[in-house]
Each structure stands twice: as structure tokens, then as C-alpha cells.
């Protein structure tokens, strides 16, 4: 199974964290620190995999954002890379040419999309169409733009 997924910028600012097993806050902070320093210090054109304790760390950079996924040792590294890619595709489809800012301002959406795709550290649905359809469907349940504009801005 997957243990956690972290998204952080080239400056090491965390943009999204998803933990698939319960963990203490202190431990999380330590892992985040370790991961950002480890991944950011990697040279260009090195491989996308690293060993960290008994976990495999798979990371990939998309524009200014690093995606860093930890999987258990018996899992498949290449497929984990494609898990990251599929998530990027899903974000891209939803936001339309996704960029870091989309994820900052709509972090809750990024979480919802991830939840449609993965659950409990395993793949729930790999079909892009089905995931998109269910995200669109939940958006339909939400308010219209007029309603949005009439909301107070504080």
C-alpha cells in the first residue's frame, strides 16, 4: 500500500499532505522535513526512486511542484510513478492546465479529487472518465456562481 503522498514546491513549501496510516503530528513533521530535504537535494536526471527506512520513495517534478509518494517495499515503483501521473492528469482535467496556485487556492478540491482516485493507500478507481464524472457530479450539488458572488468576502 501507499503510506503517504506529499506535494511541495521547489522552495520546500508543503502544498498537500495525505497520510494513509495514522501518525503523530510530530512524526509527520519530521517526515515532511526529511522528504523535502532528500528530494530537493537530488541531482537532475537521477532516478525517481529512493530507499528510505523500509519504504520506497517515488518522486517526480511537475513544473514547480514535486510529488512525493511513499510505498511499501513490495509495491511496484513504476506503477507508483504512474499513480502520480494519473493524479496530475486528474487535476489537470479539473482545473484546466493546472498550476501550483490552483492547488493552493483550492486545496480542498485537490483532496476531494485524490479521495476519488485513492483510498486507504490503495487504488480505488483508475478510469479518468469515471473519476471526472463523479467529481463533476459532486460539483453539480454545489452552489451557482451568482450565489458565490453574493457571499461575504471576509
Amino acid at each position: 500500500m501507499m503510506r503517504f503522498l506529499l506535494l511541495f514546491s521547489r522552495q520546500g513549501r508543503l502544498r498537500l499532505q495525505k497520510w494513509f496510516t495514522p501518525m503523530m503530528d510530530r512524526e509527520k513533521k519530521k517526515i515532511i522535513r526529511d522528504m523535502t530535504t532528500m528530494v530537493l537535494s537530488r541531482q537532475p536526471r537521477t532516478c525517481n526512486f529512493m530507499q528510505w527506512k523500509d519504504l520506497k520513495i517515488i518522486y517526480k517534478r511537475y513544473a514547480s511542484l514535486y510529488f512525493c509518494l511513499a510505498i511499501e517495499s513490495q509495491e511496484n515503483e513504476l506503477l507508483a510513478l504512474e499513480v502520480i501521473h494519473r493524479y496530475v492528469e486528474l487535476l489537470d482535467k479539473y482545473f484546466g492546465n493546472v498550476c501550483e496556485l490552483d492547488i493552493i487556492f483550492n486545496f480542498e478540491k485537490a483532496y476531494f479529487i485524490l479521495d476519488e482516485f485513492l483510498m486507504g493507500g490503495e487504488i480505488q478507481e483508475t478510469s479518468k472518465q469515471i473519476v471526472n464524472r463523479s467529481i463533476d457530479a459532486s460539483d453539480m450539488l454545489q452552489e451557482t456562481l451568482e450565489e458565490y458572488m453574493s457571499k461575504p468576502a471576509f
Binding site: 495514522p22 501518525m23 503523530m24 537521477t46 511496484n76 504512474e82 490552483d102 487504488i123 459532486s138 452552489e143
Partner: protein, 954 residues
């Protein structure tokens, strides 16, 4: 601020995020956040009831602040309120907040569970999915207790929507992983297996993760999944790239599902059914063939997905380890990848080959790639790839190529990255020892190791070289000569001084004939390093000096002078001063005979597992070194130790692996260094430290309050466990994702000793690890208090507290001394508590201490037998069971199991217990496939209990 593209956004939230982003400094950001927190707090506390939208917005802001890395200590109640909103977005945000912020032991769980219960029964698929996600995200025990029986029902119900099925499968998997005892197998299990045939690929993908996990734990119950998985796999593998529509990923049909299927098959041995096996081999061949076809797309996603399946197929081939043809093909395929331009593939090929190297069919094929791998070690730009190359060299090493590989690894060490040096050193040391044909090579290698990477040579490594030199007299002269030469270097590593001091102290006489290395030259050489060394090394050198006085009486005056000088005899370090004083005295008053006895050459070390190997295992975590490797090492170790006698106890006592010299436990604290032939005094002093720190720990224990949480009820599987151990003394008592408990026990008459091994299977430390042994129905005694425990006055269980911290991958041991005072029925309970991640883990097991352990068999003549049998003729004294055989009716096996000395069909057997004033007579009758077990015993409870216990064993 970007426009919100779709759906609902929260303007207030967007404004707040913009504000944060516009902050020029960290201080400004914190100020803005504090302002916001105050605002939210006042809103939540205000008299005016907030509408759903505002609540959602504020909860979302809190979430954002938390994700920035700030602590949030309020708002949980508002989030829980959102769960019961009937607006989807509000509910969704509520669940998100809880998933991210609520840890498993929150007091809110009951309220959350209520909301989840409502959503699960709402029949609204989106609500149900939200609730299932929340269970999977929090995954606490309370949630498992509340929903573990409900979710299987949702999963297999005919009218459940596909998306809900997917969520239910993965949610159940999560609960099974956290609380396997609560997820009970049942009627649903067989229906779950058939989800492999489901029309909807998404359902299969989700369900297979669950099935794989269940199969690993209950292989027999899920056996049918093998043929289903093979046929599903074969359909995918043979499908065209467009057949599976959206489940085709960059022209590769269903890569995730294919890999999961291949992974599931790795839980089982090769299929026995010829047709199924043929079909599977065909699939594997197709996958290997496809790897040779030209790619359908230039995109890296295409090749990744395709190769992911290929690597998984190779793992399965390696797992089966029975198809030489496929193994060699796999090896060739990986050989191609070794030179691929993609770094990722090179990395994975090296990793995969490591496992191939251990198969007898492919070991030779792997070895043909040695040059490529050595080249990778030298030229790869990426340290993780070089690391893999080093691992592979280690794995492919055998007698034929050991010299080459060790030489390459040594030369790589000179430039190796700091992060992997220590591991490399250990590996070189192990290989050099394992494949040493002539020991001069071994000594050279280790000394080179110290020269090249002295800082990374751990104690275990130099201890080991000394052990081996002492145990093998054919290498002692060479070792003394080489170490003498190595010490000539103007700057040599302190570890070299240690080895040099020790070896010259023992065997300096072997090279003293050469005037270039006369005793005085040797001494001066050693002493020239003295002032540059740390205290432990100096202590060791002082011991070497006193050994010199014995070996070479002509050096006596020189050495006495050195010992007498102020810097020694008045040294501020107590240890050094004591040694100097005592050695000086010893050398001046003891006769030559006494000196010769006291300072005699060290006796050979008893054979034990190489502590270097233990260290490597510890570094890499359990499972890193294969069992065969260990056994190998044992064998070779025996050879190395020059056939030293194996002590009778060495087999039964668990070897204290960290303790190389095997004297730490027995060492008197701060013993006078001159006691025995003690050149190893530095080890003694360490023992002092170890013992005193243990004492400190004890005190910590005593002062800490006992944990307030009640022990968990015993696992429902506990009785099965108990039955497993009725006739077995060793084995794995318990295992889950976190913890493995191994057990080793021995019984003699009314006494028993039980070793419990607690292994931490995770990478994370367990904190506040405590164990308590108690008896059901009695007060819980804490074994933290080092006192005799009186279990129902029937059993005495005595033990010591365990270390409160168990590092990731580490194992700790606990010894229980058990005394049986009278007959008993209930097994003692072992309660284990520790903190892992956020949550307190609480676990209660029955210890497999059963009354039959305290019985011993006696054989008697048939008249005696019948006489006794008749004496015990009251109906309550007899217990009888008639039952079908569970196992094959092999009398030999049975004899061993029930410890019956005579053939079973002859109904005469007496078990006799020296401590319990009861005899018990067993009579077993065998008819085809049936047994009749009759026990008669002067105590009715005993006969009943024994009958129950033994009946399970047939």
C-alpha cells in the same frame, strides 16, 4: 487570485489565502493567522448561531491554517456538526476536516460514528462513499468496532452501487489492517473472491487489494482466487489495447489490475491444476514477449506501465522459482535493462536481479553480468543506483568471484558516498569472512578496510577479525606481521591501533625473531600511537603492554617505567589509572609462573552468529538477510572458528547477537582488569555501563504511573493460538502489521521458562512499550514491579520489565519463569500496550501455558495399567471424546505430538506430573478416521481440561 473555475468556492477563504500569500515575512504571516484564529474563535463562541455556509468556511480556514503547519485546537465540534448537514458541500468539508485533523483516539469518535452511521444507512451513494472514506482515513479501533460487521454486508449486497462497492472494499481492507480481530470471516468471504469476476474493472481493482491482503493471512480460505485471478489476467494480457476502453492506460491494458493480479498470485505456490498453470505460464510468456515488441508510444507513461507489469511478472517467476526457462528469460530481460538509457530501469533491474541471484536456477545467469554491475558501481551518477549495484554485487558473490567483488567494493569505498559507507564496510567484512579460503587474504582485506574507511568500521568488524585470528592459529603469525607493517604508517586509524595492540599483545612473539620487529621495536611502535588515542584504546594498549611483559621479559623495565610515569599512574581517568597501578603492581610482585597463567593467551571464542551480520540485518531491517544466508554463515562460521566446541547451551539460549564477545552478561561490574586473562577489559567497562543504565530504566518504570487504559479483551483467535501450542514449544505466537511475537519455551517437571520475542515490524519506534502478565478473574498485576506474580495461586510467573522503546525493525526479548503450583484451567494472559503513530495499541493474548506442559509420560505394563484404570472409575473422573481425525493418522506423528511412548492403538499410557498430585491415564482408540480419547484422572477438572486440549491435536 485566480478565478474559481467551477462549482462552489468560498470567497472569504480565497481572500484569506491571498492575504497569507501576500505576507512579506514569517512574522506578518503569523500575525495574520492569529488575527484570523481570533476571528473564528469569536464566531464559534458568539451568541448568533452560524449558518452552514459560514461554519463550512471557517472550518475550511482552520484546515488551511493547519496545513500551513500551525496547531489547531478548536473547531472539531463545528466540523462534526457539518457532518449532519444535508448539504453535500458542507458534509464534505466536515469529513475532510475530520480525516485530516482527528486522530484515532479522539473523544469525538462517538459523535463522528453516529454521523457515519446515518450516512451509511442513507442509501445515497455519494454520502455513503464520504462516510466510508472517513472510516478508512481515521481507521481507529472504535470505528472498526462500530462498522466492521456492517461494511462486508454493504460490499456484497446485490443492490450496492459500483462506486460504493469500491469504497467498501478498500474501507474494509483498512479496518482489517488495523484491527484484524474485528473483521470476522463469514459468508461474505466467498462472495468477495467472486468480485474478481465483476463486470466493472474499477470494482475488481479495488476488491483485489482486499483479497490479496486476506489471502496473505488466510491462504486456505481464499485458495479459489488463484484460478479466478489467472483467468482474469489471461483475458487482460491477451486483450487488444483498445478493448478495455478507459482502463487502458497509454496503450497498456489495465496495468494496475494486471500488477495486482500478479501480486495476488505471489501469495500462493504455483497452481497445482495443470490447465491453470499452463494458462498462467502462457500469460507470463506473453508478458516477456511483449517486452521485446516495439513500443506503441514514445511516451514514458507507456513504457512505465508496460514495464511495471513486466517487473511484477518477473517477481512472480522468482517467487515460483520452479521454471528454469522463465527464470533465465527474466534474467536476460533484466540484463538488457542494466544498460538501458533510463536510469529508473537500470535501478529496478539491479534491484530485481538481487532476488534472482538467490535462485539456484538463475544464480549463474546473474553472475554473467558482473562486469556491467561493477561498471555501474563505478560510473553511475546517481547514488541510489550505485547503492543497488553494491547490493547486487553482494548478492551475486560466491567463492568463484569473491576476490574480484571484494576488491571492487574496496576500491569503490575510497570514493563512496558517506551515506552508504558503513553498510559497504559491513558487506565487505561479511563477504571476506564468508568466502575466505586463505585467511591471510581475509586479514589483508579487513586491514585495508580499516585503512580506507576506518571511521566507518564499527566495533563489530574489528572484534570479528580478532575473534577469527585467535581461533585460527595458521593465520596468527601473518596477522601479527601485517598489522605491524600497517602500524608503520605515519597516520593510521585508531581502529588499526586497536587491532594492532590486541594482536601484537597476543601474538607479537611470533614475529619477534626478526630484528626489524623485535619486542622493543614493537612496543615503541605501539606506544608512539598511545598519545593520539582515546581512552578506551589507551586502556586496551595498557593491557597489551602487560601482555608484552609476559611475552618478552626483556621489555619489563621499559614498560614498568612507562606505567610508572605520572601521566599513567596519576591519570585523571579512573580506568586508566587503575590499570596502570594494577599492572605495575602485578608485574613487580607476581612470579613468572603466576604472570604466565594470568596473562595466558586468550582461549578460542565459542562459535556464534557473526555479529557483523546481525548488525547488517539491524541496519537493513528484518528480512534483509535471507535465512539461507544465515544458515550459510553458521556453517562457514563453524569452519572459521577452527572447529571450536559448541557449548551445549549455545543451541538453546537465544544468542545475544550484539554481544560479540559473549561475556557482557557475565562480566562483573568494574571488575579489576587483572583478574583473568583480560585483554578485553574495555568490554568489561562497557558492561558496567550497560548494567547501570538498565538499573536507571528500572527506576523510571517504578516511578511512572501504571497505564490507565484497561487491557483489551483477549483476541478471539486466542484459543486457536493456544491449541497450536499445546504440543509445540516454539513458534510465532502472534503477528499483525505492526508486531510479531515469537515464543520459545522449555518445561521441566513443574518449572517452565518462556522467552518472548517482540519484533517491531514497522519503521517507526514503539513508545511506552509495556507488557503485563495476568490471570483471568484475578487482579491484574503489573510485571513492571519486579515481583512475584501469583496467578490464581496456581501458577507463579516471574519476569522483568521490558525496555519501553522498541525501535523500528528491532526485536526485544522477555523471559518468563513459570512455576506450576497446582492444576489450572485458564492460561495466563499477556497484555501488551504501546504507542505507535498516534494511537495506543492494546493487545491481549493467551500465553500458551497449558497444563499438559507439566506432565511427563510414563510407560507401564498392561496389568498395572488396568489396575490403575479401574481405580479411577468414578464417572466424574473420566472425560471422553470421540471425533474425526483432523490430520492424517500417522501414529509416529501422534506419538511425538502427544508424547505417547507406546503405539497408540494399545490403550495404555499414563501421564504423570511431579508437581500436581494427580496422575492421569490416557487411552486412545483408533478406528478408521475416528479417534476415541479417554482420560481418567483423580481430579475431574484436570481430565476434562486435558481431554479438551489433546483432542484438538489429533
Amino acid at each position: 487570485m485566480p478565478a474559481v473555475s467551477k462549482g462552489d468556492g468560498m470567497r472569504g477563504l480565497a481572500v484569506f489565502i491571498s492575504d497569507i500569500r501576500n505576507c512579506k515575512s514569517k512574522e506578518a504571516e503569523i500575525k495574520r493567522i492569529n488575527k484570523e484564529l481570533a476571528n473564528i474563535r469569536s464566531k464559534f463562541k458568539g451568541d448568533k448561531a452560524l449558518d452552514g455556509y459560514s461554519k463550512k468556511k471557517y472550518v475550511c480556514k482552520l484546515l488551511f491554517i493547519f496545513l500551513l503547519g500551525h496547531d489547531i485546537d478548536f473547531g472539531h465540534m463545528e466540523a462534526v456538526n457539518l457532518l449532519s448537514s444535508n448539504k453535500y458541500t458542507e458534509k464534505q468539508i466536515g469529513y475532510l476536516f475530520i480525516s485530516v485533523l482527528v486522530n484515532s483516539n479522539s473523544e469525538l469518535i462517538r459523535l463522528i460514528n453516529n454521523a457515519i452511521k446515518n450516512d451509511l444507512s442513507s442509501r445515497n451513494p455519494t454520502f455513503m462513499c464520504l462516510a466510508l472514506h472517513c472510516i478508512a482515513n481515521v481507521g481507529s479501533r472504535e470505528m472498526a468496532e462500530a462498522f466492521a460487521s456492517e461494511i462486508p454486508r454493504i460490499l456484497v449486497a446485490g443492490d450496492t452501487m459500483d462506486s460504493v462497492k469500491q469504497s467498501a472494499a478498500l474501507c474494509l481492507l483498512r479496518l482489517y489492517k488495523t484491527s484484524p480481530d474485528l473483521v470476522l470471516m463469514g459468508e461474505w468471504t466467498s462472495r468477495v473472491v467472486h468480485l474478481l469476476n465483476d463486470q466493472h474493472m474499477g470494482v475488481v481493482t479495488a476488491a483485489i487489494s482486499l483479497i490479496t491482503c486476506l489471502s496473505q493471512k488466510n491462504p486456505d480460505e481464499f485458495k479459489t482466487c488463484v484460478s479466478l485471478a489467472v483467468s482474469r489476467l489471461s483475458r487482460i494480457v491477451s486483450s487488444a489495447s483498445t478493448d478495455l476502453q478507459d482502463y487502458t492506460y497509454y496503450f497498456v491494458p489495465a496495468p494496475w489490475l494486471s500488477c495486482k493480479l500478479l501480486r495476488l498470485l505471489q501469495c500462493y505456490p504455483p497452481p497445482e491444476d495443470g490447465a491453470v498453470k499452463g494458462r498462467l505460464v502462457e500469460c507470463l510468456e506473453t508478458i516477456l514477449n511483449k517486452a521485446q515488441e516495439p513500443p506503441k508510444s514514445k511516451k514514458v507513461q507507456h513504457s512505465n506501465a508496460k514495464n511495471a507489469i513486466l517487473f511484477e511478472a518477473i517477481s512472480l517467476i522468482i517467487h515460483y522459482d520452479s521454471e528454469p526457462n522463465l527464470l533465465v528469460r527474466a534474467c536476460n530481460q533484466l540484463g538488457q535493462f542494466l544498460q538501458h538509457r533510463e536510469t529508473n530501469l537500470r535501478y529496478l533491474a539491479l534491484e530485481s536481479m538481487c532476488t534472482l541471484a538467490s535462485s539456484e536456477f538463475s544464480h549463474e545467469a546473474v553472475k554473467t553480468h558482473i562486469e556491467t554491475v561493477i561498471n555501474a558501481l563505478k560510473t553511475e551518477r546517481d547514488v541510489s543506483v550505485r547503492q543497488r549495484a553494491a547490493d547486487l554485487l553482494y548478492a551475486m558473490c560466491d567463492r568463484s568471484n569473491a576476490k574480484q567483488i571484494v576488491a571492487e567494493m574496496l576500491s569503490y569505498l575510497e570514493t563512496a558516498d558517506y551515506s552508504i559507507r558503513e553498510e559497504m564496510v559491513l558487506k565487505v567484512a561479511i563477504l571476506a569472512e564468508k568466502y575466505a579460503v586463505d585467511y591471510s587474504w581475509y586479514v589483508d582485506t579487513i586491514l585495508n578496510l580499516i585503512r580506507i574507511a576506518g571511521d566507518y568500521v564499527s566495533e563489530e568488524v574489528w572484534y570479528r577479525v580478532i575473534q577469527i585470528v585467535i581461533n585460527r592459529d595458521d593465520v596468527q603469525g601473518y596477522a601479527a606481521k601485517t598489522v605491524f607493517e600497517a602500524l608503520q604508517a605515519p597516520a593510521c586509524h585508531e581502529n588499526m591501533v586497536k587491532v594492532g595492540g590486541y594482536i601484537l599483545g597476543e601474538f607479537g612473539n611470533l614475529i619477534a625473531g626478526d630484528p626489524r620487529s623485535s619486542p622493543l621495536v614493537q612496543f615503541n611502535l605501539l606506544h608512539s600511537k598511545f598519545h593520539l588515542c582515546s581512552v578506551p584504546t589507551r586502556a586496551l594498549l595498557l593491557s597489551a603492554y602487560i601482555k608484552f611483559i609476559n611475552l618478552f621479559p626483556e621489555t619489563k623495565t621499559t614498560i614498568q617505567e612507562v606505567l610508572r610515569c605520572d601521566s599513567q599512574i596519576r591519570n585523571s581517568d579512573v580506568e586508566l589509572q587503575q590499570r596502570a597501578v594494577e599492572y605495575l603492581k602485578l608485574s613487580s610482585i607476581a612470579s613468572t609462573d603466576v604472570l604466565a597463567t594470568v596473562l595466558e593467551e586468550m582461549p578460542p571464542f565459542p562459535e556464534r552468529e557473526s555479529s557483523i551480520l546481525a548488525k547488517l540485518k539491524k541496519k537493513k531491517g528484518p528480512g534483509a538477510v535471507s535465512v539461507t544466508e544465515l544458515e550459510d554463515n553458521k556453517r562457514e562460521g563453524g569452519e572459521l572458528n577452527g572447529g571450536a566446541d559448541r557449548g551445549p547451551d549455545s543451541a538453546s539460549t537465544p544468542s545475544p547477537s550484539g554481544d560479540l564477545l559473549g561475556i557482557r552478561a557475565a562480566a562483573p561490574i568494574g571488575a579489576a582488569p587483572a583478574s583473568a586473562g583480560s585483554l578485553l577489559v574495555d568490554v568489561f567497562s562497557e558492561a558496567g555501563i550497560a548494567v547501570s543504565s538498565a538499573a536507571v530504566n528500572d527506576e523510571g518504570f517504578l516511578s511512572s504511573a501504571p497505564p490507565s487504559e484497561d487491557p483489551a479483551p483477549p483476541l478471539s483467535v486466542a484459543d486457536d493460538l493456544l491449541n497450536k501450542f499445546v504440543c509445540k514449544n516454539n513458534g510465532v505466537l502472534f503477528e499483525n502489521q505492526l508486531l510479531q511475537i515469537g515464543i520459545k519455551s522449555e518445561y521441566r517437571q513443574n518449572l517452565g521458562r518462556m522467552y518472548l520475542f517482540y519484533g517491531n515490524k514497522t519503521s517507526v519506534q514503539f513508545a511506552s512499550f509495556t507488557t503485563t502478565v495476568s490471570c483471568p478473574g484475578e487482579l491484574v498485576y503489573s510485571i513492571m514491579f519486579l515481583k512475584f506474580l501469583n496467578c490464581c495461586v496456581q501458577l507463579n510467573v516471574q519476569t522483568k520489565p521490558v525496555e519501553p522503546l522498541v525501535e523500528g525493525g528491532a526485536q526485544i526479548q522477555q523471559v518468563l519463569n513459570i512455576e506450576c503450583l497446582t492444576d489450572f484451567i485458564d492460561a495466563p494472559l499477556l497484555n501488551i500496550k504501546f504507542r505507535y503513530g498516534g494511537g495506543l495499541q492494546n493487545l491481549t493474548l493467551k500465553l500458551p501455558v497449558t497444563i499438559n506442559k507439566f506432565f511427563q509420560p510414563t510407560e507401564m505394563a498392561s496389568q498395572d495399567f488396568f489396575q490403575r484404570w479401574k481405580q479411577l472409575s468414578q464417572p466424574q473422573q473420566e472425560a471422553q471424546k470421540i471425533f474425526k481425525a483432523n490430520h492424517s493418522m500417522d501414529t509416529e506423528v501422534l506419538k511425538a505430538k502427544v508424547r505417547l511412548p507406546s503405539p497408540i492403538c494399545k490403550p495404555r499410557h499414563i501421564l504423570h506430573s511431579p508437581c500436581i498430585p494427580v496422575g492421569c491415564i490416557v487411552c486412545v482408540c483408533v478406528c478408521p478416521q475416528m479417534y476415541r480419547l479417554t482420560l481418567r484422572c483423580s481430579k475431574d477438572l484436570v481430565s476434562q481440561r486435558l481431554c479438551d486440549l489433546l483432542a484438538e491435536q489429533f
